[in-house]
C-alpha cells in the first residue's frame, strides 16, 4: 500500500510555504465574484473554508456552512487549463525585412505551478491533455514545458455537487494516479485534518520537511468511506454502456433538432470543459504593419467560423454544432485518443444558460435510438 500521512491544517500551510520557497506559484480554489475560481493563492486562508456550492442545470450558488472544511466546495468554474495551456499565447513574432520577413520563435521561461486541491476529474482531464499534446506525433512546446514543472496536490471528493457524474465516467471521486500528493479532508470528533497519499519522491521529500504523523489504518479506512459515500451521492449518472456505438448510429436522430432548438451556441460549455482543447491561430499586426504576432487562442466549436471553408461553414445549424460537441465528448474522442472526452465534472450542465444537460441528451438519444 502506498505511504499515507496525517497532516493538520497548519501543516498544509507549511506545505504551501515549502512550495513557495521552491519558487512554485501555488494555484488553488478561491472565491471571486460569488463563484469558486482556480487561481493563484498565497496562503491556506485564501481557500474558501466554510463555504459550499450548490450546482444544478444553469444554477450556481455559494452558501456559508459554518464548518471549517476547506473542500466542501466542489471543483472551481475554470480548470487548471488556464495555467498549463494558456487561453492566449504568442507563438511567434514576425517582422518585415526588405522584400521578405523574418520569424522569431517565442520561447517562454515556463512558470512553475503547484496545483493545489485539484479534483480527481480535472486530474483525469490532464491525462487526456497529455495524450493529445504530448504523446502524439507532434507535441506542444508550451504545454510540455509547463506540464513537466508542475507539482500536483489533488483533493479527493467527499461531497459531489448536483451536476457531478464522475463515478459514471470512472474519473472520480478518488484520484487514482498522476498526483504528487492526494488529500482527503476529515472532520471528526472535533478534529480537522487531512490524510495525504504520497505519490512521488519529490512529494515524499517535501512531506519530510513539514510536521506530519503516520496515518492510522482507521484514518485511512474512514477517509475511504467518505469518498465511497460521495460516489453514491453523485448528482447525475450517465449510462456509458455501448454509448459510443449508439451515438455513431444516431447521427441522424431527430432528437438533435430538439436540443438544437434550445442551444444558443454560446460556447459556455466548451469554455468550462476540462477536456475541450480547440484553439485558433491569428495574426495581430501593429499599426505600421512592420511587426506581427501570431497568437494562439482558445476556440469553440460552437463558433460559426470554426468549420469555415471557402464557400461556407460546414456546421451552420445549432443542432449540428451541439451534435458535433456531444459526439466528440462521448464517441469520437474514444476513437481519436482511446479515452472518453468527458470526465463527468458537470460544469457544462451548471454553466449552460439553457440548462442543457449532457447526461439527459445522451440518454434521450439512447432512448430514441434509431437502431440499436
Amino acid at each position: 500500500m502506498a505511504h499515507q500521512v496525517r497532516l493538520t491544517l497548519d501543516a498544509l500551510q507549511s506545505l504551501i510555504d515549502e512550495l513557495q520557497s521552491r519558487e512554485y506559484i501555488v494555484i488553488g480554489p478561491k472565491i471571486e465574484n460569488r463563484k469558486v475560481v482556480y487561481d493563484e493563492i498565497a496562503k491556506i486562508d485564501d481557500l474558501p473554508a466554510g463555504w459550499s456550492d450548490e450546482q444544478e442545470a444553469a444554477t450556481y450558488r455559494l452558501h456559508k456552512t459554518g464548518s471549517p472544511a476547506l473542500f466542501d466546495i466542489t471543483h472551481s468554474m475554470n480548470a487548471w487549463i488556464h495555467h498549463l495551456y494558456p487561453s492566449k499565447a504568442t507563438l511567434l513574432k514576425a517582422s518585415r525585412e526588405n522584400s521578405g520577413f523574418t520569424v522569431e520563435r517565442m520561447k517562454e521561461a515556463p512558470p512553475k505551478y503547484a496545483l493545489f486541491g485539484i479534483r480527481p476529474c480535472d486530474l483525469e482531464a490532464m491525462k487526456k491533455y497529455d495524450r493529445i499534446l504530448l504523446k502524439d506525433t507532434f507535441h506542444d512546446e508550451i504545454y510540455k514545458n509547463r506540464r513537466e514543472k508542475t507539482f500536483i496536490i489533488s483533493a479527493n471528493c467527499t461531497r459531489p455537487s448536483g451536476t457531478c457524474f464522475c463515478a459514471s465516467m470512472d474519473s472520480g471521486p478518488k484520484a487514482t494516479s498522476g498526483y504528487d500528493l492526494a488529500l482527503t479532508e476529515i472532520i471528526r470528533d472535533g478534529d480537522h485534518y487531512f490524510i495525504a497519499d504520497i505519490g512521488s519522491e519529490s512529494a515524499q521529500e517535501l512531506i519530510n520537511k513539514i510536521p506530519q504523523a503516520e496515518a492510522s489504518a482507521d484514518d485511512i479506512a474512514y477517509a475511504n468511506s467518505l469518498i465511497e459515500k460521495a460516489r453514491e451521492q453523485m448528482g447525475r449518472t450517465l449510462n456509458t454502456g455501448n454509448l459510443k456505438e449508439i451515438l455513431y448510429k444516431n447521427y441522424e436522430n431527430t432528437h438533435w433538432d430538439t436540443v438544437g432548438d434550445r442551444c444558443l451556441t454560446c460556447g459556455n460549455c466548451t469554455l468550462v470543459c476540462p477536456t475541450c482543447f480547440c484553439t485558433t491561430i491569428q495574426d495581430y499586426t501593429d499599426l505600421t504593419g512592420s511587426n506581427v504576432e501570431r497568437i494562439r487562442q482558445w476556440d469553440s466549436c460552437y463558433n460559426n467560423e470554426f468549420s469555415y471553408i471557402h464557400g461556407g461553414s460546414v456546421r451552420t445549424s445549432s443542432y449540428a454544432r451541439y451534435r458535433h460537441w456531444l459526439m466528440h465528448k462521448l464517441a469520437t474522442y474514444h476513437d481519436q485518443f482511446d479515452t472518453s472526452g468527458c470526465v463527468g465534472c458537470g460544469r457544462c450542465i451548471t454553466w449552460c444558460p439553457a440548462a442543457i444537460d449532457i447526461t439527459e441528451e445522451a440518454s434521450a438519444i439512447r432512448q430514441h435510438s434509431i437502431t440499436v
Partner: protein, 289 residues
C-alpha cells in the same frame, strides 16, 4: 539530397510544428485567370528541403494576413522544387496571387498522409479531378508516370468549369499525346472553340476505359463532385476499398492539436487528407458533420 529536417521534426524536441519558416518565391506561373503555381526555395540557403509524399500539404503563411493549407503539386522525386498550385478565392489566396519572384512566404509541413501509390502494382489507376483538385493529384500522376510499367491502364478524368479554367493545359496536352495514358477533359460550359466533352466529370467515369475489378481510383475535388463520381465508380463495380478521396476541412494547426479539421472520429490533417472511401462513407451522407 542532404539529410533533411523531416526526421528531426518527429524526434527532436527542437522542432516546433507551429513555427513557420520563410521561403523565397523562385518562380510564379500564372496557370489560369485565377490559378497560379509558386515554386519556392529556402531563404538564406538554410537546409530546409524536405521530402514529401504525393497528396501531402503544407501550411502556407502570408505575412500579416493568415495561414492556409495548400497541397504540394510538384514531383515527389524532386523535393528540392517545392511547388504549390493555388486558386485565388479569398483573403489569403488573393494576397498570395500578388507574390512576385523574390518575395517571401512562410512554409511549415509537410502534413497529412498521402495517396497510397506503393501497393498498386499491376492495377489500373484512375485519377478523377474536379477543378483545383487536379493540383494534389498531379504529384501522384508524376509518381505513377515515373514508374509507368508497374501499373495497368492509367486514366485521368478531369472536369472544370469552362475551357479557360483548364489547369496545367500544356502538361495535359503532352500527357494526352502519350500512348500509355488516357486523358479526358470535360467542361461544365463550353465557350470559344471548345470541341471536347461538355458536362460533369461523372459522365467520363461511366465511360472511360478501365477494368473496374482491377482498378484503384484516386478522387479529388469539391465534395459533391466526389460523391457523384464515387457513385458512378461503384455502379461500374469498383469496390469501396479501392477508392481513395482527399477531404477538405478548416485547418489551423495541421498537427492534430487545434480541433478544427475534425471529420467524425478523424482529423483530416493527420488521418487524412486522403481517406479510403469505406472508412468514411457513412459520414459523407450526413449533413453538416
Amino acid at each position: 539530397m542532404e539529410k533533411t529536417i523531416e526526421t528531426n521534426r518527429k524526434t527532436n524536441g527542437q522542432y516546433d510544428p507551429l513555427i513557420t519558416h520563410p521561403y523565397t518565391v523562385k518562380r510564379v506561373i500564372n496557370e489560369t485567370h485565377d490559378t497560379f503555381t509558386l515554386h519556392l526555395g529556402p531563404t538564406n540557403g538554410r537546409n530546409t528541403i524536405f521530402p514529401f509524399t504525393a497528396g501531402q500539404f503544407n501550411m502556407l503563411y502570408m505575412y500579416g494576413i493568415g495561414e492556409i493549407p495548400i497541397s504540394i503539386s510538384g514531383d515527389p522525386s524532386k523535393p528540392e522544387q517545392l511547388v504549390h498550385t493555388t486558386r485565388a478565392v479569398g483573403t489569403v489566396t488573393k494576397a498570395m496571387r500578388g507574390l512576385k519572384k523574390g518575395h517571401s512566404i512562410g512554409v511549415r509541413g509537410p502534413y497529412g498522409n498521402g495517396w497510397p501509390l506503393d501497393n498498386l502494382e499491376g492495377k489500373d489507376v484512375v485519377f478523377i479531378a474536379g477543378g483545383i483538385g487536379l493540383a494534389p493529384l498531379r504529384s501522384a500522376m508524376y509518381q505513377v508516370l515515373a514508374n509507368r510499367d508497374s501499373y495497368g491502364k492509367v486514366v485521368l478524368l478531369y472536369g472544370t468549369r469552362t475551357p479557360i479554367d483548364i489547369l496545367f493545359r500544356k502538361e495535359l496536352e503532352r500527357w494526352k499525346s502519350r500512348f500509355d495514358l488516357d486523358v479526358y477533359v470535360t467542361v461544365d460550359r463550353a465557350i470559344g472553340t471548345w470541341r471536347g466533352y461538355v458536362g460533369v466529370v461523372t459522365i467520363l467515369v461511366s465511360r472511360a476505359p478501365y477494368d473496374p475489378r482491377n482498378t484503384v481510383a484516386l478522387v479529388c475535388g469539391p465534395e459533391v463532385m466526389m460523391r457523384f463520381s464515387i457513385m458512378e465508380l461503384k455502379k461500374r463495380g469498383v469496390k469501396s476499398e479501392h477508392i481513395y478521396l482527399s477531404m477538405e476541412r478548416n485547418m489551423k494547426c495541421g498537427v492534430g492539436h487545434c480541433g478544427h479539421c475534425q471529420l467524425g472520429p478523424t482529423f483530416v490533417c493527420k488521418d487524412g487528407p486522403v481517406y479510403r472511401y469505406d472508412e468514411i462513407d457513412y459520414l459523407l451522407d450526413i449533413r453538416e458533420v
